[in-house]
Amino acid sequence: MSTIDIIAAAPLFCMTFGILALLVLDLFRIDALPFPRLWWGVGICGATAFLFWPFLSMNETAFSGMMAVDTFTFAFALMILGGSAVTFMLSDELLEGQRVEPSADLDLLVLFSALGGIMMVAATHMMLLFVGFELLSICVYVLTGSARNQRASSEGALKYFILGAFSSAFLLYGMALVYGATGSMYYSGIAAHIGEPSMMLLIGIGLMIFGFGFKVSLVPFHFWTPDVYQGAPTSMSGFMAVVVKAAAFGAFFRLMASGFGSVSASWSAMVAVLAVLSMTIGNVIALRQTSVKRMLAYSSIAHAGYAMVGFLALGEGGGAAVVFYMLVYSLMTLAAFGVVLVVSSGTEAQYDQDSIESLQGLGWTHPLLGIAMTVAMLSLAGVPPLGGFIGKFYLFSAAVRAGYTSIAVVAALNSVISLYYYLRVVVVMYFSGERQLSWEPPRVLVFGPRLALILLTTGTLYMGIFSSRYYETAQIAVRSLMQL
């Protein structure tokens, strides 16, 4: 093992070791631990993130070229770990209301899927990509169904599993065709032997886009998303909307940029169509939703569409825009799910208590929840000076620079549509008088969710005003990718 292998392996080992330790502790009485169990999850994520730090200034591959040790891996690994840590914080003592039996299994599954996600984004070899993909997916299927005595949860899990199996099959078949066409599993090898794209290669690329399209829920591969997001326990919906999506986007982008970047002309039309469809259909259907979780599910479809715009402008700053957009998207979406989680965790709450009406008057009775939700909604809608706006600004810039002005216009018009349903949440929280529901979300938030919401909200604001440094890091990350 060379030095680079050790550096590359350290965070993964740390995470695996943490997971195993937790597993062993769970065999004994875990309640006797000095800290609440959930904080162990945060600690493991933190330690792993710390070990990822050397990646920031490196641009190499480890394990004989299978794994990238570069800024791109660093950026997405941090998003994945941050998202997981926030998921832990939000779950603090709240799962009770979610009708989920608290057990260490869930923590382990979250950590395992985060590990899978990191492997995906770091992979520069299609086999490692697939292993990561499956590790992530299988854990998430179980997480979706973790509210065992709830029908919606089980239904979501089954749907997700069946459609997810399809997506894995598409991905795998695509890999096989790409391998057949280029003779290499390594991204660098694919790029080197791609030459004039053959029909087999193009079909392979198309199938892989399908596979990823399922995971990042692009239209028309999005049908599972609303049911799964609504059925899963809310903390897991947030995890899926953020961590799974970030991981899938990271891996997708690395594959397209460093594997198929040189033939981008042959797949950009397809990506453009998927982007426009996802934005438009996601936003239009979201208009009619009465459940916040379903609404957020459609909004996440629309945001996947926005992010795809960046794929069209690989060489024109589109990549950095995608990385940055996923970062702010994670912040604001987690905040939104976090508020829904807290609201629906009142003692009397039903499992599916996530109607928009359940937020009525929240802004006045619970200022912190109100502000967090308002900032998240406005940022998702792309209102300055919040992070979501700057993210869109970078994306639009990249699209216009790459000559896709019309797509930028479509995206801008879509933002206007989305304003309507995002603002409806604000309307309900502030404009519709006091709440009329018999139950109340906890008046004093426990430490975990409070900290998480404050961090996410300030993060969203901060990204809106001081984005420059992060965007530059994203630029470096993508530059290293294009050189591979």
């Binding site: 300055p384 639009f396 603002l423 309307v427 404009f431 420059s468």
Partner: protein, 534 residues
């Protein structure tokens, strides 16, 4: 244009101080206890007052007679995309800054009628003030856009939380209408920034760099259309005005005052500041469209105002009419029109702001805004009647009030541009007199209903204090507009000359238009304007 946009940082931070003082106020309010209303109002007064003093200092230090940008601040903001934080003030914006700080202070001072959640109300007003001030001084496209959109959120809350019966509908309509325009403008802003990279090798969103850009005819028209749409919705230009009556009627008094007094001005300001210098060709080509829509707005607004039964709605439609004048003056593309347009923005802010305050006074006491519910108020509340009369006359444009100077200049410009347009606009003045005076007659004269309005009380000291500065301004501008026009003139001249010069290089209609030659001003109380002209 070099003197306008070839900037060097002045080293002052007074503009940043001005812009962010209200924001600090809003943050401070947020940290205060929720239910201590008098403390919240004092804190808000302190910050709004401080901002007003800073703006007065700015006015005092402002150098007259030069179109130069003053108190310039320059900083890199997002270096990787060439976004800079550039602020500066010139004759175009200096009075708008004063208007903004003054009206914000008055609205906060008059916030006693807000029964619920005063702290949040004041916080929204202060946040709004930061957005407005920032928009008036920002010279970088993205910085401008940030401030421009920042105004939306607090205004949305002002209407939605403290508004009337149909507040939710009105708030959403306001937000979505305005955002539709501004998001398309954002795409155009991005396009401009990238065009600068293509043409000059460096990303820039700085207005001074943008004026160097050259486009093909179709490209320029499309880009201009994106800017013009955003600003026309804001103005609001007929037929994009439908959000305005709803927003005005449902907004609380303070919201209406700020909306009419300042927010609408950003449309006109944006056209002069951004659209005209960047797209001189397009503005010249489309000037007839603007003139026609402006005149249509003048007449339409006046006619619709005439038949209103709700006082507030009447004043709202009168805004459509008055802003039509501003558009006409701007699109006439001559000195008188432009100058009148800029001055009329200030005038409209003062008189319509005051009229909304007056409607608020009545509404607070009787909780109705229907004209039919009042009548004969002159005997019961003489002070109110007097104040109402002054602002009615100012709105009508009676000589010796501020309204006259602005409308006169605009009509002058309009006649020079096209006598027909001018003539139609004059009917707008006549209609304006009709509907305002008929409103006054129906509310103040006639028979007094003792049973219904017997308990009406006259203006209290706080309200008198609110109206006092506005009354002074009405007569000051009406009798002695020189100090105002002196500061406005160099800047409007610079913009206009730049537009003409650009269009002269590319052969164009404007160059041969005799209307643009300086003409002497006819006799009358306005003859002193000649001094300004020369």
């Amino acid at each position: 244009m070099e003197h306008l946009f070839n900037l060097t940082a002045s080293g002052d931070v007074v503009l940043s101080l001005l812009v962010f003082l209200p924001l600090f106020g809003a943050i401070t309010l947020f940290l205060l206890p929720e239910d201590n209303d008098s403390l919240a109002r004092s804190v808000a007064m302190f910050f709004a007052g401080a901002a007003f003093l800073v703006s007065l200092t700015l006015l005092k230090l402002f150098e007259v007679g030069t179109p130069r940008m003053q108190f310039v601040e320059m900083m890199d903001w997002i270096p990787s995309l060439g976004v800079k934080y550039i602020l500066g003030v010139d004759g175009l914006s200096i009075w708008l800054l004063i208007l903004t700080t003054l009206l914000s202070l008055l609205v906060i001072f008059a916030s006693t009628s807000i029964a619920q959640r005063l702290r949040s109300y004041l916080g929204c007003l202060l946040l709004l003030e930061t957005g407005m001030l920032g928009s008036f001084v920002a010279l970088d496209g993205i910085t401008f856009y940030m401030f421009y959109e920042l105004m939306l959120i607090p205004m949305y809350f002002l209407i939605g939380v403290w508004g009337g019966k149909r507040k939710i509908y009105a708030a959403l309509k306001f937000f979505i209408y305005t955002a539709l325009g501004s998001l398309l403008m954002l795409v155009a802003i991005v396009y401009l920034g990238l065009s600068h990279e293509q043409q000059f090798g460096e990303l820039s969103f700085y207005l001074g760099d943008w004026v160097n850009l050259r486009f093909g005819a179709k490209e320029e028209l499309l880009l201009f259309a994106a800017f013009a749409l955003a600003f026309s919705i804001k103005i609001p230009l007929f037929p994009l005005h439908t959000w305005l009556p709803d927003a005005h009627v449902e907004a609380p008094t303070g919201g209406s005052v700020i909306l009419a007094g300042v927010l609408l001005k950003l449309g006109i300001y944006g056209l002069i500041r951004f659209a005209m210098p960047i797209f001189p060709g397009a503005i010249e080509a489309l000037a007839p469209v603007f003139v026609v829509l402006g005149v249509a707005g003048i007449v339409y607004g006046a006619l619709v105002a005439w038949v209103q039964t709700d006082i507030k709605k009447l004043v709202a439609y009168s805004s459509v009419s008055h802003l039509g004048f501003c558009v006409l003056g701007l699109a006439a593309l001559n000195m008188q029109g432009m100058q009148g347009s800029v001055l009329q923005m200030i005038n409209h802010g003062i008189s319509t702001g005051a009229l909304f305050f007056l409607v608020g006074v009545l509404y607070d006491r009787k909780h109705t805004r229907l004209i039919a519910d009042y009548g004969g108020l002159a005997q019961k509340v003489p002070m109110f009647a007097f104040v109402f009369m002054v602002f009615t006359l100012s709105s009508v444009g009676l000589p010796l009030t501020n309204g006259f100077v602005g409308e006169f200049l605009i009509l002058l410009g309009g006649f020079q541009y096209n006598p027909v347009a001018g003539a139609v606009a004059v009917t707008g003045v006549v209609l304006g007199a009709l509907y305002m005076l008929s409103l006054y007659r129906r509310v103040i004269f006639g028979s007094f209903n003792e049973e219904r309005n017997g308990d009406l009380t006259d203006l209290n000291p706080r309200e008198k204090l609110v109206f006092a500065p506005l009354l002074v301004l009405v007569f000051l501008i009406g009798v002695y507009p020189q100090p105002f026009l002196n500061r406005i003139e160099p800047s409007t001249r610079a913009v206009l000359e730049y537009v003409n010069q650009r269009n002269a290089v590319a052969p164009s209609v404007v160059a041969e238009n005799p209307a643009l030659r300086r003409t002497s001003v006819p006799q009358g109380p306005e003859s002193r304007l000649e001094v300004v002209e020369n």
